[in-house]
């Protein structure tokens, strides 16, 4: 029977297709491992003079970078790590709650038409390139947000992080955190929204039928379902905040201290922005030093993600 023969032919093609596809899937996974290993090796290789090279030359490089404030690599990278984590964490804290709020608003509160419009608005926000955020942050937000920070410094100044006087212009960690929050907010929102919208109807109905209010329904049936997705979206956002260069560079007045005075200028700097600021004028050893800081950022990102992973694993068991 001819249909039988055909079926046999089909089987074979299907099988090869299966194998090839599986091969590509595995290859893609491995390629990512390889790419990342290559990046790590590259960083290590380029940063090697820091470890294996002439230490007095390294010290001189660091001194030239810091105007003599730091004398070795660790003194240099320490405040940078602090600043990077501070800025990114603040941005994530600001963005996370608002993002989850908007995602819920779109998925569960807004009427359908409004939700559709809002979704596109959020997607659009996600799509605004970071150089534009840099321009906007540096030229529009900094003067606009000044009075607000002044108010905060005046009335909440007793909280150490809000200690005044607020810098004018407000090229501070606080302002940068706001801009980064705006940048990562749509990423978290967009992914969370998609997941919340997929939360199973059945369980939501079960919650409502038990007499849950809308918020309780969300707590019972939506958030548990979306939790891991929201966390991984947040990690995506955090990653971007940790690595964002231009916006920080164009807005922040940097400094190399371990200070949490968010409203004052010249307190902190992020690793990524620091590389961008120093790279153009750096010599070979300078570039090595900068790449060394990049390696440290790489390790931080690794640790942050590792810890986040452990936390969610625990939570989901």
């Amino acid at each position: 029977m001819s249909s039988q023969d055909k079926a046999v032919v089909q089987e074979n093609t299907g099988k090869t297709g299966d194998k090839v596809f599986k091969f590509f899937a595995y290859a893609a996974g491995i390629l990512i491992l390889v790419a990342l290993a290559a990046v790590a090796l590259f960083l290590l290789f380029r940063a090697w003079p820091l470890i294996g090279g002439d230490q007095s030359a390294n010290a001189a490089t660091v001194e030239s970078f810091t105007g003599g404030k730091a004398h070795n690599f660790w003194q240099y990278v320490g405040p940078l790590v602090f600043g990077t984590v501070l800025v990114a964490a603040l941005a994530l804290i600001i963005a996370f709650f608002i993002a989850v709020g908007i995602a819920l608003f779109i998925s569960h509160y807004a009427p359908k038409q409004v939700a559709v419009v809002l979704s596109s608005v959020v997607d659009l926000l996600a799509a605004i390139p970071s150089v534009i955020y840099g321009l906007w942050g540096g030229l529009i937000l900094v003067p606009a947000i000044g009075p607000f920070w002044n108010w905060v410094a005046t009335y909440l100044g007793w909280i150490p992080i809000f200690e005044g006087p607020a810098a004018s212009p407000a090229r501070t960690v606080a302002t940068v955190a706001v801009v980064l929050a705006v940048m990562i907010l749509p990423i978290i929102t967009s992914v969370s929204r998609d997941i919340f919208q997929q939360a199973p109807r059945l369980q939501q109905e079960a919650a409502l039928a038990l007499g849950a209010t809308k918020w309780e329904m969300i707590k019972l049936a939506v958030i548990p379902f979306g939790k891991s997705g929201v966390v991984s979206a947040s990690m995506l956002g955090l990653g971007r905040a940790l690595g964002e260069t231009m916006a920080v560079l164009m807005i922040l007045s940097p400094g190399l201290t371990y200070s949490v005075k968010l409203l004052q200028a010249s307190q902190s700097q992020t690793i990524a922005a620091n590389i961008a600021a120093q790279y153009p004028e750096a010599n070979d050893l300078g570039v090595s030093t900068l790449i060394g800081t990049g390696l440290v950022l790489f390790i931080i990102t690794f640790l942050v993600n590792f810890i986040a992973r452990k936390i969610t694993e625990k939570a989901s068991v």
Binding site: G68, S168, P169, P254, A277, P280, A282, D284
Partner: protein
């Protein structure tokens, strides 16, 4: 190519009409300070050499020199002269066992700009001596109505506004030149080591000249330093030279360069490095200047590149070239005496 702004026919002025037309793709990279000038140079140069496609990547002096030393670019722009190490290294890229040389190509006054309600404005000046400037930028003077400032500006009523110092946040030739002036002219008030990075924690930092200018504009009571062409409608400081206060100007900047000796310690052939005399008392000189160099080889592995570099640098330092830059980038044109020294080095480029 597509989208090119075809130049009008009127443009082919005399300068290099006799020279052979250059064609090909050529790359330069380096100092961002030169960017505006280089863009103007490229545009004018291409008017007479329409087949030369030139790209200048303003990645920064350090990266520019590094790239040049790999042989990837024909020339580099740099705010700093070559180190002797770099001169050594250049043997690898320059042909015939020659070493790279640097020549001044772009001289620009650095303005000390400020924004002070009711006082600053286009072409408005405050008088200050180097010591006062140093103290302000070191955070020792914190109010605009400080005695030190008021004394030098008797006709101005200064407000009780706090001073916000604005400096560069990135590694910068401008910073290096600025602090070098402070160190030379006010050694007792400015004790930091020379560096391209801002040495203290006073005030705020801005990325690039644009960052400094926009920061200064964003608040009352700010003071910063930047390439003078960007001063715009900000107030600027007239620096005390000898007994007079001199506001920045292109001519005043040229004067200090002319009045400065060449740096004898610069080792290597053909190099023209200016050792700025920040303590000059020459009449009408403005001592706060950025000198940016072009770096090239006396001999190239590729003859076409050599031909291009020679013709290009000749144009850049020519009166025409310097005028174009002065007009469009606000730089100070090279004086004829300086040009004579430079031309010798350019002429040394072997094109055969």
């Amino acid at each position: 190519a597509c989208g090119d702004n075809t130049s009008g026919s009127s443009n082919g002025s005399s300068s290099s009409s006799s020279a052979e037309k250059i064609s090909g793709d050529f790359q330069g990279a380096g100092a961002s300070s030169q960017q505006s000038a280089v863009e103007a140079w490229i545009a004018s140069y291409q008017a007479t050499n329409p087949d030369a496609k030139i790209a200048y990547n303003p990645v920064g002096s350090g990266a520019g020199v590094t790239t040049f030393l790999t042989g990837a670019t024909a020339w580099a722009g740099s705010d700093a002269s070559l180190t002797s190490e770099q001169v050594d290294k250049s043997k690898a890229v320059c042909a015939d066992n020659t070493t790279a040389f640097d020549i001044p190509a772009y001289i620009s006054p650095i303005a000390v700009v400020f924004n002070l309600n009711g006082i600053s404005g286009q072409d408005k000046h405050l008088n200050m001596d180097a010591d006062t400037v140093a103290k302000i930028f070191d955070g020792k003077i914190t109010k605009w109505n400080d005695e030190a400032i008021a004394k030098q500006n008797p006709k101005v009523t200064l407000p009780d506004t706090a001073i916000t110092v604005v400096h560069r946040s990135d590694k910068s030739g401008t910073t290096q030149n600025f602090v070098s002036y402070l160190k030379d002219a006010a050694p007792s008030s400015w004790t930091y080591d020379l560096s391209e990075n801002w040495p203290n924690e006073v005030g705020q930092g801005g990325k690039g000249t644009s960052g400094v200018i926009s920061t200064v504009k964003q608040a009352d009571g700010t003071i910063g330093y930047a390439d003078a062409s960007q001063a715009g409608d900000l107030g600027t400081v007239a620096l005390k030279v000898g007994e007079k206060y001199v506001p920045y100007s292109a001519e005043a900047a040229s004067k200090v360069v002319d009045a400065s000796p060449l740096d004898e310690s610069a080792t290597g052939e053909n190099r023209v490095v200016v050792k700025l005399d920040h303590n000059t008392t020459a009449d009408g000189a403005y001592p706060l200047v950025l000198v940016s160099y072009d770096i090239a080889c006396p001999a190239y592995k590729d003859a076409n590149t050599a031909k291009f570099v020679k013709s290009w640098l000749t144009y850049v330092v020519s009166k025409d070239g310097q005028d174009v830059a002065a007009k469009n980038a606000g730089s100070a044109p090279l004086s004829d005496t300086m040009r004579a020294k430079i031309t010798k080095s350019i002429d040394a480029i072997k094109t055969e």
